[in-house]
């Protein structure tokens, strides 16, 4: 079949062979005169970025995306090769179509710019594209942001993709719309090496049009992530340009880099095709964090319209439980343990609307449990079936509950890079300090827009200058520092955990300011109280390994425990207090007592002040700092 197409495709080309070069030369001249190869539109479509020392390189890594062998680095050669291929029906690219169809956005742009003469360069019909395009029934685009998910390294920072809104779509049927999603393709046996390979760009990334209902299930039902939908204000022409370029991306493969060329980056690059003056991708030369990309889109005046919140099932259960009376909560707990309780007369005595609410909450809860990884999965699912059977016997529709988000819109959050300037005393020595953190959020940072009680810090560096010494020193460095607190209650009992790797400065033996490499990991639990505003109490059993020349044998390894409290005192004022006891049994023996009291007041969305007190072994350290996010 392909062969046939190829053969039939060839015939007219050779028939035109005589007249083609003349018109092609004309087009070349015209393109040169207009400087099309240097135009922003061309660079957006081919994903060219300017090199540090002049020239351009495309971020595209699939040779089939270019029609010239020099295409990756030569915009002009690529443009000329493209024009030449438009005369031919030869199949090109991974999608195996004639060039006019495989690169339909390039064709349309060049056609407009050069006013192609149809008699000399006949337009080909692109059935595959037409069918694909028509099937969207596109009337709009929405940018979709599922919030971060702590249990998967690839999605801790969140994700972004586009949804192609359909004509006649209602709030209820919008799950039938297609999405435009960019994701890395992992080999089925991807394991522990996955994050490392991801950072190094060793996996290929592809674009796909997964139906939105599958994405909703993935995020809302399986991973329990809230979803935010941002409707974009785009003209029909802009939408058409994005979709045409999306079609071209079927020929594309990018090396997927977690930090820079990730899902968010490529989605921004697609939006640039709508209007090259957006220059969205350019905002992110080094790395792209999904929430930052949302903020970049929002900075474009008028680009974002309505914002819709779609709660995760976990949030749904939380809000529904808040609507239950204490008696109904008791029923809920009994029903999820034994669904046959629903047949009791006492339960039947509740008003019908309340019974429906309790049963629906029970079903949602059992689904949260049943979709999670657990040996109990089968049991939870069977119980859910029984609950639903009981629910179906009440012949009345449930009322859709308006669910308020637990976490604010991601775009109201602080930016993810942070710089701090401060000063204080360590024992009796005064110092000034500057610190920089590449990403992303710690327990004390202003919480709007971020997953509560969760911390992910990547590359955090602190430099200090002590007044009585001549030079500054690297006070601390954290490659990664993660804390996930999950408050437990009668129904949810997930563990809390933490892990960090880095170095800090300690006083030990004769050494006053000693660098100390440290690895720490802990597993524990947390509970929530609402005495003042909201408090989270936590405890960890943990293990720690230290490496420093201050220790005999240069190392020590031990274990211990931490307890702590994270409290919202007001909307802007937050407190973190914790105490740790560690005993080292390997390497240098000994023990260590640490405690810390830190508080933060947020001043603006991207500005906060902190006062921290740290006690460690025999060190006492007080720092006051101002922090800016950018």
């Amino acid at each position: 079949m392909v062969l046939l197409l190829w053969l039939s495709g060839h015939a007219p080309v050779s028939a035109h062979a005589g007249s083609r070069p003349v018109y092609l030369d004309e087009l070349h001249q015209q393109a040169k005169a207009l400087g099309l190869a240097g135009r922003r539109e061309w660079h957006v479509l081919l994903h060219y970025r300017s090199n540090l020392f002049g020239g351009y390189t495309s971020e595209q890594d699939d040779p089939g995306f270019f029609l010239s062998p020099q295409g990756k680095t030569d915009p002009e050669a690529e443009l000329f090769a493209t024009l030449a291929r438009f005369f031919s029906q030869d199949l090109v690219g991974r999608s195996k179509q004639p060039a006019q169809c495989a690169f339909v956005a390039r064709y349309n742009w060049l056609k407009t710019q050069l006013a192609f003469d149809e008699t000399k360069l006949p337009e080909q019909t692109c059935e595959r594209f037409q069918r694909w395009y028509a099937d969207f029934e596109a009337i709009g685009l929405s940018l979709i942001f599922p919030s971060g998910f702590m249990n998967n390294p690839s999605s801790m920072f969140g994700h972004t993709f586009l949804r192609v809104d359909q004509k006649n779509q209602t709030p209820q049927t919008r799950i039938l719309a297609y999405t435009i999603n960019y994701a890395a393709e992992l080999p089925p046996d991807a394991g522990i090496e996955y994050p490392f390979k991801g950072i190094l760009g060793l996996y290929p990334g592809y674009f796909s049009t997964i139906p939105y209902y599958l994405k909703v299930q993935e995020y809302r039902d399986i991973e329990n992530r809230d979803i935010w939908e941002y409707r974009l204000n785009l003209t029909p022409d802009q939408i058409r340009r994005v979709l045409m370029h999306t079609w071209e991306m079927g020929n594309a493969t990018f090396d997927y880099y977690f930090f820079d060329e990730n899902c968010s980056y490529h989605i921004l690059a697609l939006l640039d095709a709508a209007d090259p003056s957006f220059r969205l991708a350019e905002d992110f030369p080094f790395y792209t964090i999904p929430a930052d990309s949302m903020r970049a889109v929002l900075e474009r005046q008028g680009l974002v319209g309505e914002v819709v919140y779609r709660p995760s099932r976990r949030t749904l259960v939380k809000r529904k439980r808040e609507a239950l009376s204490p008696e109904e909560e008791q029923w809920l707990r009994r029903l999820v343990e034994d669904p046959s309780e629903a047949t009791r007369e006492a339960f039947g005595a509740l008003p019908q609307a309340r019974r429906m609410l309790v049963l629906d909450t029970a079903s949602d809860y059992l689904r949260v449990r049943g979709d999670g990884p657990s040996d109990m999965q089968k049991v939870w699912r069977e119980r859910n079936r029984q609950i639903l059977s009981a629910r179906a016997e009440i012949h009345a529709p449930s009322t859709e509950m308006l669910v308020a988000p637990v976490v604010d819109r991601p775009d109201v959050g602080h930016q993810t890079r942070r710089v701090s300037v401060g000063g204080g005393w360590r024992n009796d020595r005064a110092f000034e300090e500057v610190a920089f953190r590449m990403a992303y959020h710690d327990l004390l940072d202003p919480e709007p827009g971020y997953t509560p009680d969760a911390q992910i810090e990547v590359l955090n560096v602190g430099l200090r200058h002590y007044h009585d010494s001549s030079q500054a020193r690297l006070e601390r460095f954290n490659a990664i520092n993660i804390v996930s607190l999950s408050p437990m209650d009668g129904l949810f009992r997930a563990p809390s955990w933490k892990a960090s790797i880095g170095m800090q400065t300690v006083r030990h033996g004769d050494c006053q300011l000693c660098s100390n490499g440290a690895f720490n990991a802990g597993l524990g639990g947390a509970i929530e109280s609402r005495w003042l505003k909201r408090e989270v109490w936590f405890a960890f059993a943990e293990t720690e390994a230290n490496y420093s020349k201050a220790y005999e044998e240069r190392h020590r390894i031990g274990g211990g425990a931490s307890i702590g409290l994270l409290a919202d005192l007001t909307d802007r004022w937050k407190l973190l207090a914790s105490g740790t006891y560690l005993r080292y049994a390997l390497g240098e023996h000994g023990d260590d007592i640490r405690w810390t009291v830190a508080q933060r007041v947020s001043v603006l969305q991207n500005c906060a002040v902190r006062l921290e007190y740290n006690h460690r072994d025999r060190d006492n350290d007080v720092v006051f700092s101002i922090q800016m996010f950018f």
């Binding site: 999608s95 694909w132 994701a183 393709e185 991807a190 990334g205 674009f207 039902d221 059977s389 529709p397």
Partner: protein
């Protein structure tokens, strides 16, 4: 565990549709999504979550829904073929659909109604009907999505209002 799932989903979606159909007439038309495909898997009542685990990492997505990727199973250039839209939706959303049928409303049920051609003004009747026949429909759905869609059609045909509404 997750690895096994990923692997099976990739393998199964790549499978020749004809194979699945030949071995199990109830397996649904040509998608490779049929019951049989999941026969070796212990939780075969819940296909969607397993499919989803694979989409999480994009594997499934780029194979089945890859843009301009040609024809694979029940998709064409990444778009679900018109004749498979309803069954595929019913299959991949079975958990959500059974919950919403029991509750007599919801977006998945509304979307299924739209796919089946139920006019918006008769959505309420469709919801009530699904709730009333919850047990039968879910039992059919556990056998196969095709059976559930068939059962829904049969119930609608016997419904005084809906039978007229879908004929129009």
């Amino acid at each position: 565990m997750k690895k096994v799932l990923l692997f099976s989903v990739v393998a199964l979606f790549g499978m020749q549709a004809g194979l699945a159909m030949a071995a199990n007439p109830d397996a649904g038309p040509g998608c490779g999504l049929g019951k049989l495909a999941w026969g070796d898997y212990s939780h075969q009542k819940n296909i969607a979550p397993q499919v989803l685990m694979a989409t999480t990492n994009g594997t499934f997505g780029s194979q089945t829904f890859g843009i301009s990727s040609g024809t694979s199973g029940c998709t064409n250039d990444g778009k679900v073929m018109a004749e498979h839209k309803t069954t595929m939706f019913a299959e991949l959303n079975f958990e959500n659909l059974s919950q919403e049928m029991a509750q007599g409303q919801g977006e998945h049920l509304a979307s299924l109604a739209a796919l089946m051609g139920v006019p918006a003004q008769h959505q309420g009747e469709f919801f009530a009907m699904a709730q009333e026949h919850y047990t039968t429909l879910v039992k059919a759905g556990e056998a196969s999505p095709v059976a559930m869609v068939k059962a829904l059609n049969a119930t609608m045909a016997a419904h005084p209002v809906l039978a007229q509404a879908i004929l129009k």
